[in-house]
């Protein structure tokens, strides 16, 4: 069973540090990024399953980062973290491919629950992809012959 790898993206350093500590204490593998750019750099290098992304950040904001992640790493599940209580900003996120949204201030339990759900989704997707890929390799001999022509 694969272990969930999370990344928190927020411009509040203290929030990142404390939440990372909390999640690590709960036994999760957590990386942090202080902005959209940094997050994308980390995604290039490491395998991340779930990203918790703040909507409002200086520089590259949450929605832009989300779109970038979804084009470059479509399999990564993103949970939007919003200070807005309005559904609209969350809906915008969901339309752009976010898996779910959380409203600030959010509790640790809530965060873990949503992250687990997202990871579950990722795993199902991964499963489907693996199945599809293995089917591709298990082609009928006739097909292989046809391809050889």
């Amino acid at each position: 069973m694969e272990q969930m790898k999370m990344m928190l993206v927020d411009d509040e350093e203290r929030f990142l540090a404390t939440t990372q500590k909390l999640l690590q204490k709960k036994g999760y593998d957590v990386l942090v990024a202080a902005g959209g750019k940094e997050a994308l750099e980390i995604l290039e290098k490491k395998i991340i399953h779930v990203v918790v992304l703040d909507v409002k950040m200086p520089g590259m904001d949450g929605l832009q980062t989300l779109k970038e992640i979804k084009t470059r790493f479509p399999l990564v599940e993103v949970i939007m973290l919003t200070g807005h209580a309005t559904v609209e900003s969350a809906v915008d996120g969901l339309k752009s491919g976010a898996t779910d949204y959380l409203m600030k201030p959010t509790g640790l339990e809530e965060l873990i629950q949503k992250a687990e759900e997202a990871f579950e989704k990722w795993r199902r997707m991964e499963e489907k992809i693996r199945l599809a890929t293995s089917k591709k390799y298990m082609k009928s001999p006739r097909e292989i012959l046809r391809e050889a022509k």
Binding site: T18, K25, G83, A85, T86, K104
Partner: protein, 562 residues
């Protein structure tokens, strides 16, 4: 300032409302008066002229007839015969039978001696040879004298005729009874004050004046003479008493006598006066009516204007309040959003502390103690208070960043009972009676059903809190009603018999963060959110309340789109 403005408007309306009808009104009356008086004067004068002309003719014919009588005697009876007293008596009696105007009759020879006389005076044998009248009679044949005293010292006038017989002229003379003649001349009767009299060429009265002047006196009137012998002159003048009279004068034919007819002006133009009184009466009533109507209508207009201005003012204030609320909402939302980030950190920190304490306790590094319990309690309290803050910021954000309402037609007749159903259980548990009063004629409205539900639930919950505060677990009553309102709109009323709203709180009731609930029980945002929602739907919301009697919230919503 405001009052001065109304006073000036009032003045302007009044002036135009009075002047516009009064000017043509006065012109009409004036013109009517002018033409009426002119025509009346003309006709009055014409009738006076006709009377004068008739009267002149009558007097002239009287004089002519009397002269003819005498001429007949002169030619029918020889001088020698007439001298005899018995003949004279017979002739005189015949003469008197023809006209009672004859007083006496005398016969004169060529030298003017009074040879025979029949009458009341002793005039026989008197010599008239040197008298002017006798000489004129002898030369002209006919002579009618002016009034004179003569030998008898009594005013009288005579008619004398002469003829020639066998080469000798002789004459007869008759005296005309001045009373008889005066009566004849006076006989004219016009109105109450009309009178007629004769003047000789010297302006001496030849007949008595009914108004007091006697024969041979000068009249007190200013007499104007006609231009031509047979024409009639009419004029207005004052007599000696200062009274205004209408005069008509004309010369008698063949005699230097002037016939004067006069009548008091007021009498002559009596119907004119009646018309003047009528016109004055109509003017007074008409002007009074115009002024009264002007005052009444102006009063109404100014009153209406005041009412409209007041309404405008209150609408303006509502608009300003709504605008202020919207600005406040924007600001609050921004504020809440910024607060959420530090809240998030506090929450995370608290969770971390909690976790760390748990680990320490498990590791036995912290012995259970009162202090530790206190710390635990404090930690729990921090968590609780952060939750509370989160609740507040979320409510603020809801208020500030109102969703665009998704408008559709809503039938309140079925919509309101659904909402009442949602709170029915809570109400019955607390002993509150909910009365529904929804008119069948309530029109469908245009609004967002979700948001409208939020508003009505909020109002119902507030109402339940209010009645529970006043009545406790029994006796509360809430009425929710709907009815048609102006121009296809509908009005929803939510009333309760609860604790009501203090008058000093009425103005702040829709302001955000205003609450009368104990700390931690309410955010003070419920009603302001409701207010914002209803305004976004194009409706309006108002409250009416009496402390310890209850409150009624009313919502007016726009009519359904067709």
């Amino acid at each position: 300032m405001k009052n001065r403005y109304y006073a000036s408007i009032r003045k302007k309306i009044l002036i135009s409302m009075i002047l516009v009808p009064v000017v043509p009104f006065i012109l009409c009356l004036g013109l009517g008066y002018h033409y009426f008086t002119t025509s009346l004067e003309t006709s009055t004068i014409a009738s006076l002229k006709r009377i004068v002309s008739d009267h002149r003719q009558m007097i002239e014919s009287f004089l002519t007839e009397r002269t003819n009588d005498l001429e007949f005697i002169l030619h029918a009876t020889p001088f020698a015969d007439l001298k005899r007293p018995e003949t004279l008596l017979r002739v005189f009696n015949n003469l008197q039978a023809r006209s009672g105007a004859f007083l006496d009759l005398g016969v004169f020879d060529a030298d003017g001696r009074h040879v025979a006389y029949h009458g009341p005076y002793e005039l026989k044998s008197k010599d008239y040879g040197g008298e002017a009248w006798f000489q004129r009679t002898m030369t002209e044949g006919i002579y009618i004298s002016d009034i004179f005293l003569g030998y008898r010292r009594v005013p009288h006038f005579i008619i004398a005729v002469s003829t020639e017989e066998n080469g000798r002229r002789w004459a007869i003379r008759a005296t005309i009874d001045t009373h008889y003649f005066t009566k004849l001349v006076e006989m004219v009767r016009i109105g109450k004050t009309g009178e007629a009299y004769l003047l000789n060429a010297d302006g001496v009265l030849q007949t008595r004046q009914r108004s007091g002047r006697e024969l041979m006196q000068q009249p007190l009137d200013q007499v104007a003479y006609p231009d031509a012998p047979s024409s009639i002159r009419t004029y207005l003048a004052r007599d000696a008493t200062g009274e205004r009279f209408l005069y008509a004068t004309t010369w008698l034919k063949d005699k230097g006598w002037l016939l004067v007819i006069r009548q008091e002006k007021a009498d002559a133009f009596r119907s004119l006066n009646a018309a003047v009184y009528g016109i004055v009466l109509i003017s007074i009533i008409g002007l009074g009516a115009i002024v009264a109507v002007a005052f009444y209508v102006t009063g109404r207009i100014v009153h209406k204007m005041k009412a409209m201005d007041t309404e405008k003012e209150s609408l303006n204030q509502q608009l300003i309040r709504a605008q202020r609320l919207a600005e406040l909402g924007e600001m609050a939302a921004g504020f809440a959003h910024e607060i959420n980030n530090p809240l998030q950190i506090i929450r995370s920190e608290q969770a971390l502390m909690d976790l760390n304490f748990g680990e320490l306790k498990e590791a036995g590094m912290l012995a259970p103690s009162e202090t530790l319990e206190e710390i635990d309690d404090a930690m729990a309290q921090i968590k609780l208070q952060v939750e509370r803050c989160a609740g507040i910021t979320q409510a603020i954000l809801k208020f500030g960043r109102q969703n665009e309402p998704k408008l559709q037609n809503v039938d309140l007749r079925s919509f309101i009972p659904q909402i009442t159903g949602m709170v029915a259980k809570k109400a019955s548990v607390n002993g509150i009676e909910i009365v529904q009063d929804i008119a069948e004629s309530t029109p469908p409205i245009h609004g967002d059903p979700g948001q409208l539900q939020q508003v009505l639930l909020n109002l119902l919950n507030n109402a339940m809190d209010a009645v529970m505060q006043l009545h406790g677990p029994a006796g509360g009553s809430i009425t929710i009603g709907a009815a048609p309102f102006n121009g296809g709109q509908a009005r929803i009323m939510v009333g309760d018999n609860g604790c009501g709203i203090e008058s000093e709180n009425m103005k702040k009731i829709f302001s955000p963060f205003f609450t009368t609930k104990p700390v931690g029980k309410g955010t003070g945002l419920g009603l302001s959110v409701c207010y914002g929602i209803i305004h976004a739907m194009g409706g309006s919301m108002a409250v009416d309340s009496m402390p310890n009697c209850g409150s009624t919230f009313s919502i007016v919503l726009p009519p359904a789109a067709s």
